[in-house]
Symmetry: C2
Subunit: 172 residues, 2 copies
């Protein structure tokens, strides 16, 4: 089982966007620079976050991305599902039905117990992800992060954020 | 995030092997037939289970596979890790260190909070998988499975199991 690398990039970018002032945005290129990623690679994941309404994209030369709602209302589960899709990790192929003895479809109305057990574990995983808000990640970083790293991140955001005239839905 | 299809095959085969008499074995070919799988595909996963000491392989023309320990001492986590490997689903690439400002390595001694949060969720997933024993899967199937399906499975095992003279470590 493996999550795509995009999850790490997506959570870091969302955390960084939680630190911009007011309705300012940050460009994908700036975030790619912040994390040493290829801009085109990152764009795919920023688009996924925008499609899931975690980010909003402001068009135009001074545009960029910002959080679509406050960091208190974004969970790690929201971000993981946006990047990885909503299908469960375990995908039952109903191999119980592929045996040599062909039974009537009515013999398989109840879900396979193996699928049920695997989905129960997935619910525990998702519940744990849903418990962690983006604001928790940011608060933890502010409290526990190395002061040099925090100072460098803040300076980066300060330098790259783009103030906007348009209202942000983040405040709604 | 996606688990390989081998997980479903592995859990079904282990469940079937929980039903053989005493120290009998069942061949990989028989289990492949039971679940409509390619024998060579299944062999890979039976080898993984054997390497993880969940199954034991008895050589020879009348050999095959059997559980290496009682089904009460095999969990879904054991099987998932045997097939998927032990690495966590989230693999931190330390992209926090790739920014334009090069900080001293001492700034990254504490683990990244994003990695910590993702691993916490993975622990919840693994704990849930560890709670379900193979014997639970079998007992649930016996209690809740369709009687036609149970009868067909029992007949299949009866027909394909291979009694052995050698002692099984399952009873140890």
């Amino acid at each position: 089982m493996k999550l795509g690398e995009g999850v790490e990039a997506a959570i870091h970018c969302a955390s960084m966007l939680a630190g911009v002032d007011g309705n300012s945005t940050m460009s994908g290129a700036a975030m790619a620079e912040a994390f040493g990623l290829s801009p085109s690679y990152l764009l795919k994941h920023l688009n996924q976050l925008t499609a899931a309404r975690i980010l909003e994209s402001v068009p135009g030369p001074a545009g960029g991305y910002r959080l679509a709602r406050p960091a208190e209302r974004i969970t790690l589960l929201d971000i993981v599902l946006a990047v990885e899709g909503k299908e469960p990790a375990f995908r039952c192929g109903e191999i119980r039905q592929r045996g040599p003895v062909k039974l009537d479809a009515s013999a398989y109305v109840k879900p396979c117990g193996i699928n049920t057990a695997m989905l129960k574990a997935e619910r525990a995983y998702r519940a744990a992800l849903a418990e962690t808000k983006l604001s928790d990640i940011v608060a933890n970083y502010a409290a526990e992060g190395d002061p040099r790293s925090i100072a460098a991140s803040c300076a980066f955001v300060e330098r790259h954020q783009r103030p906007q005239k348009s209202a942000s839905s983040k405040q709604i």
